[in-house]
């Protein structure tokens, strides 16, 4: 048989209907729903008298709008209405919902995997571009708009033209102190924000294989920031170990059979991709973005670039605008950029391993007096696990605020909003203008870099924190 990529295998299995001149009609195995992109879809169903075809393949939670401080009083009436609307819709159509006080509530891309709803080989959609996260398990997962949400609710299918396939091969090993976030930021910095447009990525190579499942989620999460709707990693033993025992994963003999089938999904030796790009992991340094899209990114040892560094006129102009918006001067060492806020959270970096790394750095230290720092765990389950380990105490003693789970300051739809001109080190995924509040300035970093910046008050390599303290004391 002709060798196939995992992308081809999953796609072919899910074609419900195919005819010339049309996209394929694909079956959707799991539809994740949240409060922001679903109300108009349910309203559409209601107006046309349609039903939800498979509420049993649909799962909803609230994450974008939820307050992270006091969960019992929601001051924002419009946000409250949106959350209540989701609850009413779920009740009316029989869809399971992890509501704000439910123990399974959390960021939709954090709870999918931790509940075992996310499984290898599934087609997964959600009205959210970071649905690519679930690709870490070897699922074909991508974000859709609200009209498509309505289409999936009504038919459990989607018309899709098959994207091209791209192998993103990250060779070699990352150095100590370099994280999954740095891999994906360095990748986007090198290849640009539209390199994946029209493609599905499969990440391969030694550096990817060495990552834990949580780290793989960080990489796949930001596929969309490189333009790819989906980014996948072929399942291996780590995938199986992560999923075993999760709430919605089959048990016992059924699990063994499923695991066997999942491992067979991996891309066959000799399978052909439409395109392959490669990068060496061993040269990657911790990354910090300086501009207003994720490709505007340099290593921590670097400097803010000058518009003259860019060859294309459009890029020069974009750099000029970005520097003006970010309030940065060309040539400034990244380490000299002082910050006002630190946000550790989001579907990119809010899992237990992220919090452990950050906690290890802040342990026994104090957040810089000019910095306001918050930790927003990705889910109730992450929060409880972190508290069992005492991470909450470490953060609180250092001067961080320890919050309730949600999307929070990643997109600042709730009241976790920066003021105009305020600058944040953020473990989230987008540094777009105004993303964390009108006029706010976002620098994307890993949890380790965010933690170090919180302590120092500016960006700093983690290993230098000690030296700096010694200097301050003497």
């Amino acid at each position: 048989m002709e060798p196939k990529t995992i992308i081809d295998k999953i796609w072919e299995r899910h074609v419900v209907h195919r005819e010339p001149g049309k996209p394929d009609l694909l079956y959707i195995d799991l539809h994740l729903v949240h409060e922001v992109t679903s109300p108009q879809a349910f309203e559409g169903l209601r107006l046309s008298g349609r039903r939800v075809r498979r509420p049993d393949l649909t799962y909803a939670t609230v994450d974008h709008n939820v307050p992270t401080r006091n969960r019992h009083v929601i001051h924002d009436e419009i946000a409250k209405k949106q959350m209540l609307t989701l609850a009413e819709n779920c009740r009316e159509y029989g869809i399971p919902l992890a509501d704000i006080h439910h123990p399974d509530q959390g960021i939709v891309h954090v709870i999918g995997p931790e509940l075992g709803l996310t499984q290898p080989g599934k087609t997964i959609v959600c009205g959210d571009s970071h649905t690519s996260t679930h690709g870490a398990f070897g699922a074909l997962a991508f974000g859709i708009g609200t009209s498509e949400v309505e289409h999936v609710l009504a038919t459990q299918t989607l018309w899709q033209s098959k994207p091209k396939t791209m192998q993103v091969k990250i060779n070699g090993r990352i150095r100590h102190g370099v994280s999954a976030k740095d891999i994906i930021l360095a990748f986007i910095a090198r290849f640009g924000v539209k390199t994946g447009t029209g493609f599905i990525f499969e990440y391969t190579g030694e550096a990817i294989r060495n990552l834990s499942m949580e780290e793989r989620m960080t990489v796949c999460n930001m596929s969309i920031e490189a333009g790819a709707r989906a980014g996948m990693i072929s399942p291996d033993q780590k995938t199986i170990e992560y999923l075993e025992g999760k709430k919605y994963v089959p048990k016992g003999e059924t699990f063994s059979r499923a695991a066997e089938a999942w491992l067979k999904l991996k891309t066959d030796d000799g399978a052909v991709y439409d395109r392959t790009i490669e990068m060496d992991a061993s040269t990657i340094e911790p990354q910090v973005t300086w501009g207003t899209n994720p490709s505007m990114c340099v290593p921590i040892s670097g400097r803010v670039p000058s518009p003259d560094d860019f060859a294309k006129p459009s890029e020069r102009k974009a750099a000029e605008k970005a520097l003006e918006y970010m309030g940065l001067k060309p040539g400034t060492p990244i380490e000299e950029i002082a910050i006002d806020h630190v946000f550790i959270g989001s579907c990119t970096n809010s899992r237990l391993s992220d919090l452990r790394i950050a906690a290890e750095i802040v342990k026994g230290r104090k957040v810089h007096e000019k910095v306001k720092a918050i930790v927003v765990p990705g889910s109730h389950s992450v929060k409880k696990a972190a508290e069992r380990e005492g991470l909450d105490r470490i953060f609180k003693e250092a001067g961080f605020e320890w919050r309730e789970p949600g999307c929070s300051m990643c997109l600042a739809m709730n009241d976790d909003v920066l003021q105009p001109g305020e600058r944040a080190a953020s473990t989230s995924n987008r540094n777009f203008e105004g993303r964390q509040g009108a006029g706010s300035r976002t620098h994307l970093v890993s949890p380790a870099m965010a933690a170090a910046a919180a302590i120092a008050g500016h960006f700093i390599p983690v290993h230098r924190l000690n030296q700096e303290e010694t200097i301050t004391i003497s």
């Binding site: 046309s48 393949l57 708009g145 609200t146 038919t155 997109l411 009108a438």
Partner: protein
């Protein structure tokens, strides 16, 4: 969705690359549960300053472009978030056609779902339209059946590609869900087959 066949209109030049959906409609306006009324929030932070006053240097506030229904912009238009509020805002404001050298995938799909025609032209063609629109009022005619963008004044004609199925949907203003539901038998047969094969399909 309103069908679109031939559209003639004024061009508004938005000379930026990587215009993301956070700019097209900022997050604070995503809390509404309706589809309508998003035009007032379009490019909100580019149109208005922190006090809510119009920014005179933003192209949409320039009286020359009042009533424009065709937006020309840079590479990778509509990147970022999947929010369909972005095309809803563009449509509600009055844009029926968007021309760019490339679009982000999710945004492109979202346009097609709402009767907005996203047109990919070459960098040179886009730059030509941008330049002409920036110096004065430019009118172009977009012909979907012919797949052309035509500008009489400059003897400019450019051809564009579009998926034939999506083209039919736009031309007819089809309700895609109704079309899919005609395939109910096939969907059910697919589910039956999987059940027989012992696939684990349910959540619980």
């Amino acid at each position: 969705m309103e069908p679109i066949r031939v559209h003639e209109g004024k061009v508004c030049p938005l000379n930026r690359a990587n215009v993301d959906t956070d700019q097209i409609v900022p997050k604070q306006f995503l809390k509404r549960i309706e589809r309508q009324g998003f035009g007032q929030f379009l490019f909100y932070h580019w149109r208005y300053d922190h006090k809510g006053n119009e920014r005179s240097d933003f192209v949409l506030n320039n009286p020359i472009y009042k009533g424009a229904s065709i937006l020309v912009s840079g590479d990778n238009f509509g990147c970022g978030s999947s929010r369909e509020h972005a095309p809803w805002a563009l449509l509600d404001f009055g844009f029926k056609v968007i021309i760019a050298p490339s679009f982000a995938d999710i945004f492109y799909n979202n346009c097609l779902q709402n009767g907005i025609l996203p047109i990919v032209l070459s960098e040179e063609e886009t730059a030509f339209l941008m330049e002409k629109a920036e110096v004065g009022s430019l009118k172009v005619r977009v012909d979907l059946p012919e797949q052309t963008v035509h500008c009489q004044a400059f003897h400019f004609t450019a051809r564009f590609d579009i998926d034939p199925y999506r083209k039919q949907c736009l031309l007819n203003g089809w309700d895609e869900i109704a079309l899919t539901l005609q395939l109910e038998d096939k969907i059910r047969a697919f589910e039956e087959k999987w059940k027989e094969e012992g696939e684990n399909m349910g959540i619980a």
